[in-house]
């Protein structure tokens, strides 16, 4: 039995299961053998993702199935249901459910697992030691993972996010220990030297921000972690908290020590229930271990963290709006007459950083600024986590060094286009960013080069679109988002975005007039210049950047009443191709407005006046006869 308890240092982090399989076998774990020669199970760990992405494809059913199958065969095992991330343990959730089986020192990863596949895996792999090759993770999985540089996400999928000991075992809270032995000045200097720039979007140097705040002599100060990830299309912050909340907490404690604050807040979206739960658990555990509370690690430094749930307002990602929201008020930004490092939450000096920024801090303190600078570029050091989504093969969470070419991220890691449609552009930075066309994919991704093409880093969302997406419609989508989320305090944003939305709407309906493009540009630039806060100042970016790179699409809508991507509903027209119509009548049956006339053995006909352009017939036709 003793031999069964043997754990490798790496796998300490996860719950080890002792599989009582073929008890006669006392052979020690073989060092890395070929996949085929996995012997009878001794150390058996099964890791299954149970995040939002995993749950959606049935991870709970798969977990139950594994439990059932193993129990039926007398194999005693707790399955490590240690998911990490909403999107899937290893970020690659387009291949969910991903199941990792570690047995006798060999690790195999399966992709696209469903409950009915479990029995065969248990019988062939776990009992007979023959992995089921056809279900193993393929090339995409390796391309996706091998080209990344995982610093922040290194422990994701390996440690249990709800167990502080797992984090401590991988040198968690070592950064804090080291920081507390230094003076606050030294800590701030180290962060400054690392060149870390705020990961929330604007890229302000974190060390400088801390320095401003630490200079204030005010006795009470606050440190806030911004986890109000409102960007549609971004989920990195949520992922980091779900996957390793302790790293964020540790970063906040170090930040609190550096600026001399004893109270921290995490402002988190109420839409992220799993992240909130994990954060609560992590804070409780950190208190029990003495990392939070009075006299942390006998250093005489006190610090504690409170969670404030946001209530769903995009503008609360803006610093001053966020602080007002914590104060229980409407989240409206204030004029920037002073920095929040001088007068922030409750009128006290406040430092506000994003989740990913805080998660970087322990690593910087532990490994030093020099180490950190070894990643990324001169002006944007370190790595950055992106959520790569949209029309690419491999969607998910990726971490790459700053300065990587867009092409490498989208084509090599993302696996390129999904179908036969050509990739058109990538949208970065959410509603504040812009679109970068495919012919400019040879662009290094860092704060400055993205800004140079009229986009921005934002929090790191990357949505790839192909030629079935209409750029005017996409711009309209973002403007309707910012218009809806505008707090209404300043006129340019409140009314300006409304007018832009009206113009874009009429263009997509084929009612655009000449001069609309110029009007959009003029309005956009005015809004950028005169809005009160970052939301308004960046709201026109999606429109301006699509006009810049895809002006022809706007012109085609206005001048020819045609949507090149075929995405704008009002400009669509459905007709039956009489040559390919096989008279099956499927289209007529699905039409919700009875616009299709069809009799058995006759070809279908669509009445234009009745058609509501829903596209149901187009989807239903098995012969692609509807155009």
């Amino acid at each position: 039995m003793a031999a069964k308890k043997k754990t490798t240092t790496k796998s300490k982090a996860v719950v080890q299961t002792k599989a009582k399989l073929k008890p006669k076998s006392k052979a020690k774990a073989k060092p890395k053998a070929s996949a085929k020669s996995v012997g009878p199970a001794k150390d058996l760990t099964i890791k299954i993702c149970a995040g939002t992405g995993g749950l959606a494809v049935g991870s709970q059913e798969v977990i139950n199935e594994f439990a059932k199958e193993l129990k039926a065969r007398g194999i005693k095992a707790d399955i490590a249901n240690k998911c990490v991330k909403k999107t899937g343990c290893r970020g690659l959730c387009s291949k969910d459910l991903i199941v990792e089986i570690r047995q006798n020192g060999n690790t195999e990863v399966y992709q696209l697992i469903t409950p009915d596949k479990v029995r065969r895996i248990v019988e062939e792999h776990i009992i007979n030691g023959e992995p089921v090759f056809e279900w193993l993770a393929g090339e995409d999985y390796h391309n996706f993972n091998d080209r990344q540089t995982k610093v922040l996400l290194k422990q994701f999928g390996h440690i249990d996010p709800e167990d502080i000991n797992a984090y401590i075992n991988v040198s968690g809270y070592e950064g804090l220990r080291k920081a507390l032995l230094q003076t606050t000045f030294e800590v701030t200097e180290e962060v400054k030297a690392s060149g870390l720039r705020g990961r929330g979007g604007a890229g302000f140097p974190t060390g400088l921000k801390w320095e401003f705040c630490s200079m204030s002599t005010e006795p009470s100060k606050y440190i806030i972690c911004n986890a109000d990830e409102g960007d549609p299309g971004a989920f990195m912050d949520c992922a980091i908290i779900e996957g390793n909340a302790h790293s964020v907490i540790e970063g906040m404690i170090i930040g609190g020590y550096s600026i001399g604050s004893s109270e921290g807040y995490v402002y988190i979206r109420a839409e992220y229930p799993l992240a909130i739960k994990r954060l609560e658990i992590a804070i409780k555990q950190a208190r029990e271990k003495g990392f939070l509370g009075k006299n942390i690690l006998n250093s005489g430094f006190d610090f504690d963290i409170k969670i404030k749930q946001g209530a769903g307002a995009f503008v609360c990602g803006e610093a001053s709006a966020l602080m007002r929201s914590i104060e229980g008020k409407r989240g409206m930004p204030r004029a920037k007459l002073w920095r929040s490092a001088v007068k922030g939450l409750w009128g006290k000096p406040t430092v506000l950083n994003n989740v990913e920024t805080f998660a970087n801090i322990p690593l910087i303190i532990l490994n030093g600024a020099e180490w950190y600078r070894s990643f990324g570029t001169e002006k944007s050091p370190g790595t950055k986590v992106f959520s790569l989504t949209g029309k690419v093969k491999n969607t998910g969470l990726i971490e790459v060094p700053m300065g990587m070419m867009l092409r490498e991220m989208i084509i090599d890691i993302g696996g390129g286009r999904t179908g036969k449609n050509k990739l058109k552009a990538v949208q970065t930075g959410g509603p504040s960013g812009g679109c970068i066309p495919a012919d400019q994919f040879d662009l290094p991704v860092d704060f400055d080069s993205l800004a140079s093409v009229g986009s921005m880093m934002g929090s790191g969302s990357m949505v790839v679109v192909d030629d079935t997406t209409c750029m005017v419609d996409l711009a309209k989508f973002f403007i309707s988002f910012t218009q809806h989320e505008s707090c209404g305090k300043c006129v340019p944003c409140r009314i300006g975005t409304k007018r832009m939305l009206e113009i874009l709407t009429r263009i997509t309906e084929g009612k655009g007039v000449s001069g609309d493009i110029e009007l959009l540009e003029e309005l956009g630039n005015d809004i950028k210049m005169t809005s009160l806060c970052g939301l308004g100042q960046s709201a026109p970016n999606p429109v301006l950047s699509t006009i810049r790179f895809f002006r022809d699409e706007y012109e085609s809508h206005i001048e020819h009443g045609r949507c090149p991507a075929g995405a704008c509903k009002s400009l669509r027209q459905y007709i039956v191709n009489l040559e390919t119509c096989k008279k099956c009548g499927k289209c007529a049956r699905v039409c919700p407005s009875a616009a299709i006339t069809w009799q058995p053995k006759t070809k279908a006909k669509i009445a234009k006046t009745k058609c509501v352009k829903c596209g149901a017939c187009f989807d239903a036709c098995p012969f692609n006869a509807i155009m």
Binding site: A56, V57, S94, E271, K308, K391, T395
Partner: protein
């Protein structure tokens, strides 16, 4: 009963500053929506004008001033879901549920359809959430099937 529920929420936040949002959140949890009576009750107890509560409640997307349906269907309208066709899915679901223009709840109170900016599950978009169960990679037909499941199960229970 009503007083007791309100008092319970009040006790939790009595000493903290900036608790308007937290009170509203708990109120919604307790009653299912933000109740006018409850706002008046708190306004009196805390000496905060009711208009403050309403101001905050109408500012944030999370709060609802009307009772909601039995099943909450949340359609994600984030960028990733949008480019993968969430709009058509929402249209289909509205048609399937026969929700009137400008409304978000079915006349029989079975379903409430809501749009949300992003649920943070972009890589499996388009995403639809029904009563906290997440469905990824939703297609038009799948959307209809999902709704049917919930409707039928309700009928069975009756």
């Amino acid at each position: 009963m009503f007083n007791k529920k309100c008092q319970g929420i009040l006790d939790k936040y009595h000493k903290e500053g900036g608790s308007v949002i937290s009170i509203l959140q708990d109120m919604q949890e307790e009653f299912g929506y933000v109740k006018e009576d409850a706002i008046n009750w708190f306004s009196e107890k805390l000496n905060i004008p009711a208009s403050n509560f309403f101001g905050v409640a109408t500012f944030y997307a999370q709060f609802h001033l009307k009772p909601r349906g039995k099943n909450i269907v949340t359609a994600c309208c984030g960028t990733a879901c949008h480019v993968k066709g969430s709009e058509a899915i929402i249209d289909r679901m509205r048609a399937d549920m026969a929700i009137a223009e400008g409304e978000d709840t079915t006349p029989d109170g079975q379903f409430t359809l809501e749009n949300v900016a992003c649920v943070g599950a972009c890589s499996i978009g388009p995403v639809v959430i029904v009563n906290k169960k997440v469905y990824g990679g939703v297609t038009l037909d799948k959307a209809s099937t999902i709704l049917k499941d919930y409707n039928d199960s309700n009928k069975d229970r009756k």
